[in-house]
Amino acid sequence: MKAVRLINISKFYKLYDSPSDRIKEMLNPFGRRYHKEFYAIKDINLEISKGEKVGIIGRNGSGKSTLLKIISGITIPTAGKAEVDGQLSTLLELGSGFNPYYTGYENIYFYGLVLGISKKEMNEKLPSILEFAELGEYINQPLRTYSRGMKSKLAFSVAISIDPDILILDEVFAVGDEFFRKKSLLKLEELWAMGKTIIMASHSLNNIQTYCDRVIWIHKGRVEDDAGPTSVVERYKEMKIRSTQNIQ
């Protein structure tokens, strides 16, 4: 059973020197091009089975986040097809999908609403979300007053509460204090044990090695390596050492 299937996925952005170039290109009767193409993702084929724990590594700007956004359906690929089977929960960066002007409490309900979860169901989930997020009285304050750590606590608590089949995490452990990180990792282990599909991008090779049974290394928008965690992480580390030597 496949949870995610990517077929020949490419994503390029059209880069214009100025916004007016975009209009000029559209109106140009001779089809003159004003843009440069920038490939974030090029020709990726990927299959992820149900229950797999996949880690995604790669340098900044290598296309990790774009790949996760395509799997989540947020960004539409320029070419290729993405098939996803199962309820997704995506946690990209901080305060995913939260409105800074709503209170924490309102944001929880709004998020549920958007994902098609009824108010009744949300009411049932609320105590566990509040308990996990440890925000105390702050839950009634607008999100713009939250610190980065608080936002990510809330986002993480909501994302895991909706009981997804596939959980997509993008660098979620970069923030939050030591205690919360520990707690979240324990929670993730719980989800691991429940056989959920988990796809996580991270720069923490330790976490990747501990929690994933497959690692995909993305380099310049392509899959550089796709194998068990030890071999990929080793190769990645070697490359890192080589490139630092070059700098020296």
Binding site: Y13, G73, G95, G97, N99, Y102, Y111, V114, L115
Partner: protein, 269 residues
């Protein structure tokens, strides 16, 4: 292609109607109940505005002749309330994707339903204004007739027109930020070019058709026909056909533009 995307669009609505309604109620609450006395403003603001107009045009300036046997202020409010609904919704919908960017950039969400949320949310406010208008009718002892039911038809017509322009402007805004000031200017021109405060028969008959090209003329006239003049909507078939022709062409263009831009929209927000 247009027909296929049209079908796509309406299927989206049918599938998401519960979500659309809930998000609209949420939008309405957020927009109008943020202040200290909260929900009271939703009623108070339209009420005060109506009272001010009644004072100014009902008792103050007597220079405006009544329209037939109907006081000028009643005629004015029929036009003003429908125009404000149209212009405010169009203006706020132009940058609606930016307002909802917090959501669109992080969650997989049907973009096409975003503009409709604002239209429905503003409809609730429009409903309150219509109730105020009925209050004014009551104050002047003008009875509602069977023709008043046509308000539903004219409202529906305006609703479809609003959807068409909302999709068009909101998607154009993403590639052309100038859309916003252009829409503001258009609405400003519209305010004076639409017979809200003045009567179309004060214009030289050979130029009247120019003002009738404005689709909102049909709506304003319709609101007044329903409440004041007791005319059925089929009495001027050519205007009805023109309005629907205009609206359907605009709808087709906006759906074409929207569908064309959809793949890159999230990257543009």
């Amino acid at each position: 292609m247009i027909f296929k995307s049209l079908k796509h669009f309406f299927r989206d609505f049918a599938e998401n109607r519960e979500l659309i309604i809930k998000l609209s109620i949420n939008d309405f609450k957020r927009t109008y109940t943020e202040t200290f006395i909260g929900a009271a403003w939703v009623i108070l603001h339209p009420l005060l505005l109506t009272l001010i107009f009644m004072l100014v045009f009902g008792f103050g300036f007597r220079s405006h002749a009544p329209i037939g046997e109907i006081p000028f202020v009643v005629w004015l409010l029929c036009g003003l309330f429908s125009w404000s609904f149209f212009s405010e919704t169009t203006t706020s919908n132009t940058n609606i994707f930016k307002q909802y960017s917090f959501l669109l950039k992080k969650v997989n969400f049907r973009l096409s339903i975003i503009p409709i949320i604002k239209v429905i949310s503003n409809t609730m406010l429009h409903g309150i204004y219509i109730i105020m208008l009925f209050g004014v009718l009551l104050a002047y002892q003008i009875p509602l007739t069977i023709y008043s039911l046509q308000l539903i038809y004219y409202f529906f017509a305006m609703f479809v027109l609003l959807l068409a322009v909302s999709w068009l402007f909101s998607s154009l805004y993403l590639i052309l930020p100038d859309t916003r000031p252009i829409v503001t200017v258009l609405m400003r021109i519209g305010f004076f070019a639409t017979p809200i405060f003045w009567r179309i028969d004060t214009i030289n008959p050979s130029y009247q058709f120019l003002f009738k090209l404005n689709p909102m003329y049909y709506i304003l006239q319709g609101y007044r026909d329903s409440i004041i003049f007791h005319q059925p909507f089929w009495h001027d078939m050519s205007m009805t056909l023109y309005f629907w022709g205009f609206t359907i062409v605009t709808l087709a263009i906006s759906i074409y533009v929207f569908t064309k831009l959809r793949p890159q929209m999230v990257d543009l927000i």
